[in-house]
Symmetry: C2
Subunit: 672 residues, 2 copies
């Protein structure tokens, strides 16, 4: 690669792109840490994209109809930070670049959603950005159909590397995108042939264009350093009705001594080599210094977007004020007023009719009343629609023929589904929920964690939440998953006991703006335990007294979900023997943890024996059994201590000893 040729061929472009390259070199050198090679390799693509195509307004970073730019290869964060700074995003000051990777800076090692405007999603775990982008593009298609293309009509651009494409999540995502014909999705594949361990070919020989084409993508292959080719490819990609993949042949760490090597992937900090690279670029300005004319050219790109934004604004204001308010409400993630009333009515009806029903079915019943008043919900399942009970009447199927449809058949792609839902929330205007079996949260963990980290209020509808699944056996029976999810910060794990708690959990989940929710729901039928109607959302307190001891309180039974009714039965047995027993339903530990100390103490007063009942491992329960006023001598657990088994559910509960009788016996053994 002769740098001199590149420079002379397109000298103005070259210097604009060099600004990204030199800022990257300077920031990584200052931090003595980071990844230089990717921004240096993809600077030309970024420059052409921003200059000629990307529709954005640095002064209005939340403009709903902006194009989205997603850096799936998140280790190349300096590319993003550089262009945000260069185009004039206010938060992305030069000082932020100088503070790259330092405590308190907006410029984290990998782009973190919420740290600075212009960062559309958190990336770093490979493949997630590409999979998010599929969700962004789906949200855009959906909103365009609902609001018209005067209001929503933009593109989602992604930069992904070999690493992203090797990850299974991206393969799920690209197959989904192909099937959905997401024509506004354009992926630049940074085809530099280098990974951390060496050449890509030591681990992969996939013909990537052929792989994308196999799933229905429009594919192009270009020289990723030729601005004319880049521009033409983007133009062609936008014109094609399919999602587009542009394989850009690039040189990692272009112009540096480490060019085209795995060393180039990492932190290039050698001062002499850095200077040599700058010399090769023809870059004479000092560290972190951008010549006025170059900065002005970059800022002009943002100005172009400001015009487009103003035009959009005047179109938007032609909508009726009702429509404007509705649009705004959806993007603000405000729940519609009707939600609370609908939930309340359903709770009342459920308390009165007291059905015996699986909570997955309860969940469907809740969605049946909520979906009609929340046009922003988009439901789906990873090929378990009938089992997850996620489809309600009149949603319609979201597909290329019906973009107004609100139900997505995600296919057997739990990880891709979860990552797409993250993208939908981040795009804004829609509220996704998606289902699979609780056990297969395992497959989606990478994206679930990012929901929590990014504060994206996705709703995970996880049915078949215990051995109550029955015959499918231990591969399908979660035992450790409640603990795993509860251990994750900023993730609310709801395990409702009946229709009433399920409705309350949904209400919380669809009202949250910053915390994703997991609803752990049963396959098997459960009796209604909340037979007395309360307007108040008791589940929102995390735990509450469901049934008070009749005589002197000698025991407290704590349970969640399907085991709450077991606790009530055990209480009956114990009360019959004169052992006053309180039953505490604990549908959401995280919310209980957030209550005032006094409330927690009221629910779990010191003194009585405590036994927790949950068809899952004990891990984590000691917080409530022995902490919070408890005593180890008075603490017991009825649950699982190993994987499950294949048999009818009732047999499993008997064989594993998760019964009212076993609970009562445990209490009695501790009272003695």
């Amino acid at each position: 690669m002769d740098i001199a040729d590149l420079r002379s061929a397109h000298p103005d472009h070259w210097m604009r792109a060099a600004a990204i390259r030199t800022l990257t070199l300077d920031a990584v050198a200052a931090a003595n840490s980071g990844h230089s090679g990717m921004p240096m390799g993809m600077a030309d693509v970024a420059t052409v994209l921003y200059q000629n195509h990307l529709r954005f307004d640095p002064k209005a970073p939340h403009w709903p109809d902006r194009d989205r730019f997603i850096l799936s290869a998140g280790h190349g964060s300096m590319l993003l930070y550089s262009v945000l700074h260069l185009t004039g995003y206010e938060q992305m000051t030069l000082q932020q670049l100088k503070d790259f990777r330092q405590w308190g800076a907006r410029t984290a090692g990998h782009p973190e959603y919420g740290h600075a405007e212009g960062i559309e999603t958190t990336t770093g775990p490979l493949g997630q950005g590409l999979a998010n982008a599929v969700g962004f593009a789906m949200a855009e298609e959906s909103l365009r159909a609902h609001w018209g293309k005067n209001i929503i009509n933009h593109h989602t651009y992604v930069m992904a590397g070999d690493g992203c494409l090797m990850e299974g999540v991206s393969q799920e995502a690209l197959a989904l995108a192909g099937m959905q014909q997401l024509g506004h999705l354009i992926v630049f594949f940074d085809d530099n042939g280098i990974t951390i361990d060496g050449k890509v070919s030591i681990a992969d020989k996939t013909d990537q264009p052929a792989r994308f084409a196999a799933s229905g993508w429009h594919v192009q292959e270009i020289d990723g350093h030729d601005p004319v080719a880049i521009d033409a490819a983007i133009t062609a990609a936008k014109a094609d009705p399919r999602p587009s993949m542009i394989a850009c042949k690039t040189h990692i760490a272009l112009g540096h001594a480490a060019q085209d090597t795995s060393k180039g992937h990492g932190a290039l900090t050698d001062a002499a080599q850095l200077q040599a690279a700058k010399d090769a670029y023809g870059w004479t300005a000092g560290p972190f210094e951008i010549p006025e004319n170059i900065k002005a050219e970059w800022e002009a790109m943002g100005a172009r977007g400001a015009e487009a934004h103003a035009e959009w604004q005047s179109r938007f204001e032609k909508l009726s004020s009702t429509k404007q308010a509705a649009f705004q409400r959806q993007f603000d993630m405000d729940a519609p007023k009707a939600l609370a009333a609908r939930v309340r009515a359903l709770k009342k009806q459920a308390s009165e009719s007291a059905p015996k029903v699986a909570t997955r079915k309860s969940s469907e019943n809740v969605l049946e009343v909520i979906n009609p008043v929340m046009p922003e919900t988009i439901g789906g399942s990873a090929d378990l629609t009938g089992s997850n009970n996620t489809l309600t009447s009149d949603l319609g199927t979201f597909n290329p023929e019906n973009r107004k449809g609100r139900y997505v058949y995600f296919g057997v792609r739990e990880h891709g589904m979860a990552a797409a839902m993250n993208g939908m929330v981040l795009h804004g205007g829609v509220r996704p929920y998606g289902g699979t079996f609780m056990c297969f949260t395992d497959y989606a963990r990478g994206a679930i964690r990012l929901s929590a980290l990014m504060k994206a209020p996705v709703v995970y509808v996880m049915t078949h939440d215990s051995i109550g699944l029955g015959e499918d056996g231990p591969t399908h029976q979660p035992v450790e998953h409640l603990a795993m999810l509860r251990a994750t910060p900023n993730l609310n794990v709801f395990r409702p006991a009946d229709t009433v708690e399920t409705a309350e959990a949904w209400e919380w989940a669809l009202t949250s703006k910053t915390t994703p929710s997991v609803l752990a729901l049963t396959r098997q039928g459960l009796p209604t335990v909340r037979k007395e109607h309360k307007t108040k959302n008791l589940t929102a307190q995390g735990a509450y007294v469901l049934a008070e001891a009749e005589g002197k309180r000698k025991a407290i039974l704590m349970a969640t979900g399907s085991e709450v009714s077991v606790a009530l039965e055990a209480k009956a047995l114990l009360e019959a023997e004169g052992i006053g027993t309180r039953v505490v339903s604990m549908p959401c530990w995280e919310l209980f943890e957030q209550q005032p100390d006094a409330y927690r103490r009221k629910v779990l007063p010191p003194g009585p024996v405590r036994v927790a009942i949950e068809a899952a491992v004990r891990f984590g329960w000691d917080r409530w059994l022995m902490g919070e006023g408890g005593r180890r001598e008075k603490a017991g657990y009825v649950g699982m201590d190993d994987f499950g088994a294949s048999a009818p559910a009732e047999t499993l509960f008997e064989e594993f000893g998760i019964t009212a009788e076993a609970t009562a016996a445990k209490v009695k053994s501790l009272i003695k």
Copy 2:
């Protein structure tokens, strides 16, 4: 599909295949649960495979050189159970088929490894079987290279459905297999066009043959009900040097009223429809009844394998007795005698030289002494070789040019790597270990859980195990992962504090025959805490007293990994103030849990204040803080309660308050 035509075209074949179909119908009807459609659709392929190709000996199910048959579409378990019964696997009695999906039966809802001979791996979570198979085939290639093709030379056959192929893990696996040119791997794709939610096309339009071809596979497309075509395709697949995918057009639930529908995927239990299907098959025998002649034909297939097995045995016996013993040792998973001595010598040397070194580097040092005496180890990394320190001298790269190489560049495919390692262990003869960042256990969870469930002693080398990772930021910093992994049954999570504990952990991990291990290792340098050499493996006790209180014991500090040295510093601060402090290192909770009560009580006696220190969430720690003789009033925790941040590691430990000073202050606040 005219059943009559199929019957008349190949009447003998037809009846053999009908045996699978009718046993499936009968077993599902008896269980009133299960998945009928897949075995009914793939019965022809299974029949031809077993009759003409599969090399197996039902009387010697552990014969190392048998072909492996892997039912990746595990919901079709009755296909496997049927052929195991028909060919005469002793454990798979007719009664077992009658007890399908019942408590205590070998015939679980999905095939469970260890439940019956002939079940090569646990499947059900989709894609895993295919990804395991890649590991099986890699093990076979490796062993063939090391032992010669007289001793190891067999095929791995897989049946996978659309669901398997939609899962990201299978996409990772097939790309890896293509790059590795695993010519002895043959995958039948059950191309029935049906998923649970409907037609495959509602979620996927991938051209699967093109997708496999893009990753270097040999592909064929056949009528999956034509025995001649099936036979020819298998013959061609065996002849081709690439891995082979045979797309078999099939009809799910062939011959049943539910044929070609998603209903056909599930349990077909309607008695009249069942009878109608049998009538269409020309099957007149009663439920669970196999006509003598048909059973004899199936049993003859096993007899053919017995001959091959006998020939193999005589070849094997021509090996020197030393070689025979070595081969046997590897397949028995016995550690070589030299292992203990090498670990001991390294421990002694480390205690004496007391290096300050990251435990990931310690791990490399351990592997440097172990790998030369354990020819069965196969190491690898998901593209983080230099960071995970998994590569040692002289391993050589495992690739198509060098099958004797013992190091695998798995690519950025954590899930595929983990699943392949499961396959390697199950194949036998090799012991795999593989590395990635601890945070990306998230990506591999689906397979890690199966290591635990299958009792496959895979070793997961998970480096960068906390905020100690530093600048890469919260996406790369585990905080909840220790809890998640500890919550998983039958999984030992080791978090060693220095080289000595790392060596002990490796010794345990490579000696285990039934429990997989996770080694949580630091990026950052740690001082040696075990300065006094002990021959005994203290880590194998799970926890032990590392430093005793000097004065009266008022506090116990519990810590793991990088925080053990923090605890020692805190002890020094406290002792200086006259507060006698014991430090307990707890490298493996699971092993500590398994110690006798008396030992646990000795390590954690009641009375003193207890403070645990771990750069992770508290979730799970209450077991040791308040249980096991503890008191909530005297319990404290120094650790994380949210996600991490991007900054140099030392800054993060300071900012998050995980320091000796903070620990000492916490102790003092509790003593008051």
